[in-house]
């Protein structure tokens, strides 16, 4: 979608420039702190995901940006101007709602045209842009249908077209794929991602599905109980979780509780040299960071331990082992599929893979 030269206000900021700034936002409902002092920047053209469990405040933050709720304190800025003081209909922000919220008394085409009509766009321009938006989501053939005559996936596409036709600077998506079945969801994820690349609109996407967040996002903002736990790219947040919560929420992990004393980290049967002040420490060790050591030798930067295989879960290309290092210390190990495994084995992992995390 190219910006219309007739309306220079619609020019998008340069890729990568800061588009939205959330400054110290707090939101209270009665006695409940739903959001606590949130600060977050979103760059133009970015695909940022707000990830969190239900009740973590992610939808509230989205509604604050859309203008359906007022912050208890803090400010929201977009493109150098205060956003939180504007009513929803004056914000250059559009939303794809969780249950789509399509207008049941209007056809798919009229749903898409709605935003342009209420802004008194000339009829010819409306037709062209609606056509373009419907083509973009591959819904031209269903344009005459009422929403009740469309499948969930088709309604989803119309909801997307209805928002995008307004050429928002920022598109908010509130768990838009949660109502779809697994296969359709995967397909829509891929279409959403390529659509976002194609049109270059900034996406702020809300989901509770960490896999979805990992697959789609440029960056993930993980919310926990109304506070930001970590904001980073999917690779960074997976490889270097800052907290035990992040490590467990995103992917599988082994949380090792132990201590550092005299530059040695000790977690049960596992010991390795580590610089750090003495005291208790916690580490996240991904199951796939551990491998079976067949020749009994370890590299200098590796930690070796002996453990008994207790359980084996076959997963096609890989299998997950539950191994016992003695004293009831259990670790999960992901290895390439290799057939049934029992008894004692040597395992190794790289010291650098044991990521120190906050409680």
């Amino acid at each position: 979608m190219s910006a219309s030269p007739a309306n220079p206000a619609q020019e998008l900021p340069a890729e990568g420039a800061e588009l939205l700034e959330v400054r110290n936002i707090a939101k209270r409902f009665g006695a409940v702190d739903v959001l606590k002092n949130i600060s977050l920047n979103i760059a133009s053209g970015e695909f940022l995901t707000l990830l969190g469990e239900s009740g973590s405040g992610k939808t509230t933050l989205l509604r604050l940006i859309a203008g359906f709720e007022q912050p208890s304190s803090g400010e929201i800025w977009m493109g150098g101007a205060r956003l939180d003081v504007l009513p929803p209909y004056k914000r250059r922000v559009n939303t794809v709602f969780q249950n789509y919220a399509l207008f049941p008394h209007l056809s798919a085409r009229d749903n898409v045209a709605y935003g342009l009509r209420v802004k008194n766009t000339p009829g010819r321009e409306i037709n062209g842009r609606v056509e373009e938006a419907l083509r973009m989501v591959k819904m031209l053939d269903f344009a005459a249908n009422r929403p009740s005559k469309l499948s969930g996936g088709q309604q989803q596409r119309i909801a997307l077209a209805r928002a995008l036709v307004n050429r928002p600077q920022l598109l908010l998506l509130d768990e838009p794929l949660s109502a779809l079945d697994a296969n359709l969801r995967k397909q829509m994820q891929s279409e959403l991602k390529s659509l976002q690349r194609e049109i270059g609109i900034t996406f702020l996407f809300v989901t509770h599905d960490q896999e979805e967040a990992m697959a789609l996002s440029d960056r993930i903002a993980l919310l926990r109980d109304g506070a930001l736990e970590q904001v980073a790219s999917p690779r960074e947040i997976y490889a270097h979780p800052a907290t035990a919560y992040t490590a467990q929420f995103i992917g599988q992990t082994n949380l090792l509780r132990g201590e550092i004393r005299g530059s040695i980290a000790t977690c049960g049967a596992l010991r390795w040299p580590l610089e750090g002040t003495d005291g208790p420490a916690m580490f996240s060790l991904r199951p796939e960071a551990i491998r079976i050591c067949t020749d009994g030798k370890r590299q200098t930067n590796e930690v070796k331990f002996r453990a008994t295989v207790r359980q084996q879960f076959y997963g096609g290309s890989s299998e997950l082992l539950e191994v016992d290092c003695g004293n009831g210390q259990t670790l999960r190990v992901r290895v390439p599929a290799r057939g049934p495994l029992t008894g004692e084995h040597d395992f190794v992992f790289s010291m650098a893979e044991a990521i120190r995390v906050q409680e």
Binding site: A66, G67, F68, P87, P88, Y89, K90, V93, N94, T95, F97, N99, A101, L102, F103, P104, H105, Y114, G115, V118, K119, S148, R162, A163, N166
Partner: protein, 277 residues
């Protein structure tokens, strides 16, 4: 399924139901039959079919004047009570203000207030204000008394409305005013029609309030009542039969609309029930 087992278990219940319905409806059946009886209200059982009473009725201009009066009052009451009722329902549904509970009770009070009280108080007010009694006062009485009916119906409609649609409208750049006209009202259409039909019917056969506020012109129920004092005539049976037919038609339409406006949601509700059980 459950209906089957009930009827099998309680044959007496079916018999009892027949008696109750006979008790309620046989007077109406008699009324309708006698409107076609050549021998008028005397002579049972009716022996000779005739349409004479209807011919007489159609030639009776004072009856038709009263019908016209009733129609005007009813149409006006629908307009007045729907407008004010919609505003009250919107306030009850959306606004938060001190004294809201009291406001709700005051708006809904006329529903349970006896017509005599409403009529008498409006009459006293009219006398106090020096307003001459005529059709306009009747319209005013019906309209205000029926606001509560409109409010209840429209409030129920608003409660069923998906608020996310209004948010979506605002989100797409529509002002609250545009949203009201383009999204809220169209979604409320069935509730509005249902309320209008109900109010129209209630106004058409209202007597108590009308009796206090009427001037020289009679409404249809009052015209019938006035004639009854001179004895029951077959002509009255004929007009009553017509009123009955129109009322049944309106009620059927109202019921259908209501079922349709509830349709989508009750379907969803049933599906949810199916999933949980």
């Amino acid at each position: 399924m459950s209906a089957n087992s009930t009827s099998r278990r309680a044959p007496l219940l079916a018999l009892y139901a027949v008696f109750v319905f006979a008790f309620i409806y046989s007077p109406i059946v008699v009324l309708v039959l006698y409107s076609f009886n050549r021998d008028g209200v005397g002579g049972f059982p009716p022996r000779h079919f005739t349409l004479n009473w209807y011919t007489q009725l159609f030639a009776d201009s004072s009856i038709w004047d009263s019908v016209l009066n009733s129609l005007m009052v009813a149409a006006g009451s629908v307009a007045l009570s729907l407008t004010l009722g919609l505003l009250a329902a919107l306030a009850l549904d959306r606004a938060d203000f001190p004294g809201k509970a009291l406001f709700r009770r005051l708006v809904l009070l006329p529903l349970i207030l006896p017509g005599i009280i409403t009529g008498l108080s409006l009459l006293m007010f009219a006398v106090f204000a020096g307003v001459q009694l005529r059709l306009l006062t009747v319209f005013w009485g019906h309209g205000t008394a029926l606001i509560s009916v409109a409010t209840t119906e429209l409030f129920a409609g608003l409660q069923k409305l998906d608020r996310a649609q209004e948010e979506a409208s605002l989100d797409l750049g529509a002002t609250p005013w545009q949203t009201f006209w383009r999204i809220t009202l169209p979604n409320l259409k069935l509730s509005l029609i249902a309320a209008a039909l109900l109010i129209f019917t209630l106004s058409m056969d209202e007597i108590a309030v009308t009796f206090f506020l009427i001037g020289r012109d009679n409404t249809l129920p009052l015209e019938i009542w006035a004639r009854l004092r001179l004895g029951i005539t077959p002509e009255i049976n004929a007009i009553s039969t017509l009123i009955f037919a129109v009322s049944v038609a309106l009620i059927v339409i109202w019921y259908r609309l209501r079922a349709r406006s509830l349709g989508d949601r009750s379907q969803e509700f049933l599906e949810q029930l199916g999933e949980t059980s």
